[in-house]
Symmetry: C2
């Protein structure tokens, strides 16, 4: 009957946030916050595959199994880490005068926060974002789009489109930067040009300058233009 067993049914992703959190700090002062920031640090250093419970515990100066008092499964650590990344996202307390500007800024800020932790895009795209920091950012997006005139299903869809485009773009971008990006790009380009008869349109493009930021900016403008048009009815 420990807290970690309190969740009903199977462990579902994001479930850390729906369980009651242990409020008091133990004899080592171990809190979710301390655990989260250590996990972030190790993910930054070792990447998603490099993370391991024993190293996290060692850095926190506790026994590996101690962590199981604070989380139910390893994946919970990832949820804590992702929410910590969202906390880095600046959240304006006043809405922007022009809602399009507000959403645009949010999209670029979100991209930067996720890119600062290369593992976070992959996680944000594949796990429900239910932490308090992530929810606060969602609330901001909902509020901005509601002010733009969206309601009901369209409001939910517009908000989803905004976050899914950003997170999807960042995840794709980060997936290239895991290895040696330049070598990878050259290999792909060679491959495309060697098979130009199969991929004529793609072979024409030059990936020489991988201008990720500019490409993302264009992507964002495409969506913003569509949202603006629909908001006008």
């Amino acid at each position: 009957m420990s807290p970690k067993k309190a969740a009903t049914g199977p462990v579902l992703p994001g479930a850390v946030w729906l369980r009651k959190r242990p409020p008091r700090r133990g004899q080592h002062g171990l809190t979710r916050e301390r655990i989260a920031s250590e996990v972030v640090a190790q993910l930054d250093r070792a990447g998603l595959d490099g993370l391991n419970l024993r190293a996290v515990a060692a850095a926190l100066d506790v026994h590996p199994t101690t962590l199981y008092w604070h989380v139910a499964v390893r994946d919970d650590l990832l949820d804590l880490a992702v929410d910590a990344v969202f906390a880095e996202l600046p959240l304006p307390d006043r809405p922007a005068e022009d809602w399009v500007d507000g959403i645009r800024t949010f999209m670029h800020d979100l991209r930067m926060a996720l890119l600062a932790h290369s593992w976070s895009g992959a996680l944000a795209s594949s796990r429900p974002l239910l932490g308090p920091e992530a929810l606060a950012r969602s609330e901001f997006v909902y509020a901005a789009l509601a002010r733009a005139g969206f309601t009901g299903d369209e409001l939910a869809a517009a908000a989803a489109a905004v976050t899914n485009l950003v997170i999807g773009s960042v995840a794709a971008e980060a997936s290239w930067q895991d290895g040696d990006e330049l070598t990878a790009r050259r290999a792909v380009q060679e491959h495309l040009q060697a098979n130009a008869h199969i991929y004529p349109a793609m072979a024409e493009l030059s990936f020489e300058t991988s201008a990720w930021a500019a490409q993302f900016a264009h992507s964002a403008e495409f969506l913003l233009a569509g949202l603006a048009e629909k908001a006008r009815h």
Copy 2:
């Protein structure tokens, strides 16, 4: 000097496709295709976390370590599986009369193919898609958008926006369906309403009917509207 060591530098994601593939089939008739479809089958059954090399090998009736002749690392298996999913995506041989219709159909088809294998969205979002089947679909998108009038950076950005929005949306959707979705939704809604003072806009929405398909359709239309407007200059 085995083939798996042929790649220069560190193992980068998607690298299976850039290495020369062993052309002939061995005494067990083990090919990349057979391995790929077995991996897909096991992922469908056990999920991403449930996949293990030993089980794959057993099902193929070979020794676990035999797989290392055909791939360099476990992740290569995932790349093979993702490309196999892309192969299920119907690819029209004639372009649509209206390019918007063509892209719209592609987006919905891609969503369906990825949703049919719940693990594939997470993988597609976090690994470069360099397999032949995935590239062929990208080529289709590039060609359609080029016909719409996009060129250079804007063409690349438009294509990226289309695939990233779809993959990002599917990954998010699938992340909810890993566990008991209904229970999860209810818990989240309770949580939002209990904290309605923090999340006023979100608390208002009813997540009763989780109409994923309708929401995705709206998201797609937002992007398509923006693309159409930009294409008109």
